[in-house]
Amino acid sequence: MRTFNFLAMNKNKIGREIPKNIEGIGELEPYSGAWKKLKKGWMDELTSPPPNKAKMPHADKVCDTLEEAIEKSNPKDGMTVSFHHHMRNGENILVRSIDILAKMGIKNITLASSSLNESHNPIIKYLEDGTITRIWTSGIRGKLGQAISSGVMDLPITIHSHGGRVRAIHTGKISIDLAIIAASAADEEGNATGSTGKSAFGSLGYAHIDSQYAKQVMVVTDDLVDYPCYPLSIKQIYVDFVVKVDSIGDSSKIASGTTRITKSPMDLRIAKLGADVIENSGFFNEGFSFQVGAGGASLAVAKFIREKMKRKNIKGSFLLGGVTSYGVDMLNEGLFKTIFDVQSFDAAVSTSLYNNKNHIEISAGHYASPFNCGCVTNKLDIVVLGALEIDLDFNVNVITGANGEVRGASGGHSDTASGAQLTVVVCPSFRGRISTINKRVQTVVTPGETVDVLVTERGICVNPMKPELEESLKKAGLNIKKIEDLQQEVEKIVGKAKEVKYSDKIVGLVEYRDGTIVDVIRQVIEE
């Protein structure tokens, strides 16, 4: 193991210590404010050109096995391989591909998956043996997160947002040698979609950028259909190889039923308060646009907003983001005109995406990249987000758990918070004795200057930067508290927790969407 000696640190705008330079990664730019770099109107970093390619007419792209295709791509030590996470826990192409690369003796791989989850635990052995030495991802969960937090890798991983990933690929910070794109249907030229086929998973939004920038692109499908395959989520002009496999994953985990609204009385209470906040915020107007998270209290806010929209006869413009069947129901009821879908969460969504012209697949760049002429999150009026923790400055942690281990995802959290006119964070004031409101969050993913209001069952806190919002919520009779008071109140109930012990070793860098470093994650010391 190498030891790290950081000679110099910078303090970023929110007071986090960021190393100036990390050997093997390079110089790090400290976070300087949510919109500071955007105000310029361009990005200082150069964009790297997409690769030049050519194919002879009627050339054959189809390979019989994943092994054959990977061998043909001529993998090399030090390569970057990319994947998407649209199949969530049902995905099995990533692990199979890394298995093949490891068997070929490829070392020093950079893994650039749009996210990682518990189905990827088998790659831990490749972190230990040097097959994988660098990781870019939006999130990590399970044993993989624990392994990384315990310091299994020499180089820190980089956590990016969904929009930030697109930026990093544009600038060549993530320079993909081989993109392996699983699709539930594809044709022999590589036109591919996730919206049909036996393993349909919906939008392929995160993979668009990989297909355009990777030096080689491989589409892997378990449903090779007659040419042409459409809708054209992935286009043949970018695709080098097409692989037919028996299965791209466990479809019961990929495409399972519909998402249900929580029955937890606590979550429903928080959600109702969240909807009341939205109703009285001044942004709940005809033609408003809306995004909610897919879980717990966050999704439940949609239930109450749906009722309020019907009662007040308000129609919205678009629903954005990770889309659940609940959003599809609202589209079908005519409550919203459009869904922009970068990621689909259940089977019903894939069907809607395929059949309904008002349900539109968008790429991650179109969704959230900060460096283009305006992503859709910039048009967002209201977003409702969850949090593992929030601090007195309204900074939100969605990446490290109470024990300090990596167990979450940045996702679109900071992208939407930065874009939306009203960013509402909903979470219980404590979960299983762990306070969610702390003096200082362990890891900042979304800076407080982009968060407007926190809604808990015990009270609502408005960011002091938004006094008008606080005024109108007070007028509506909502229970507004100072975040400092709420933090104290919760601490009295749960007791003062012993703090997590960290070593000096940095195991993760948290990139803000503009590429600056908003925080670092340190190795947890087990007692």
């Binding site: 109470a402 024990n403 979960r431 299983g432 004795r433 762990i434 109930i493 749960v494 007791g495 927790a497 012993k498 997590v500 007692e527």
Partner: protein, 96 residues
């Protein structure tokens, strides 16, 4: 006081604590096993609280198996008190 029988209190639900108490031979002392999702943060305070209730009931010889799912202190105290009352047959309950 000496435990008369095995007893349990609490549940496996989140924010609750499940405590199983078993009598042991006199002089064996307090054998306390704690499993908790928040052991890192609150392990010491949980242990202190458990001893406090055992002292209250003057129980010196006992085996306790504790599964904590993030119970706050009043819940821990309540479950501990109940399990002691049951094990000491100070309270007739339905769960043994």
């Amino acid at each position: 006081m000496k435990l008369i029988k095995k007893a349990q209190a609490g549940s496996f639900e989140s924010s609750d604590i499940l405590i199983l108490a078993s009598p042991v031979e006199e002089g064996e002392g307090r054998d306390i096993q704690i499993e908790s999702g928040v052991f890192m943060q609150y392990g010491e305070t949980i242990e202190k609280l458990i001893h406090q209730v055992l002292d209250q009931f003057e129980v010196n010889d006992v085996q306790l198996q504790i599964h904590d799912k993030g119970a706050i202190e009043p819940v821990i105290l309540a479950r501990m008190e109940t399990v002691m009352q049951r094990a000491l047959e100070m309270q007739k309950g339905t769960m043994y």
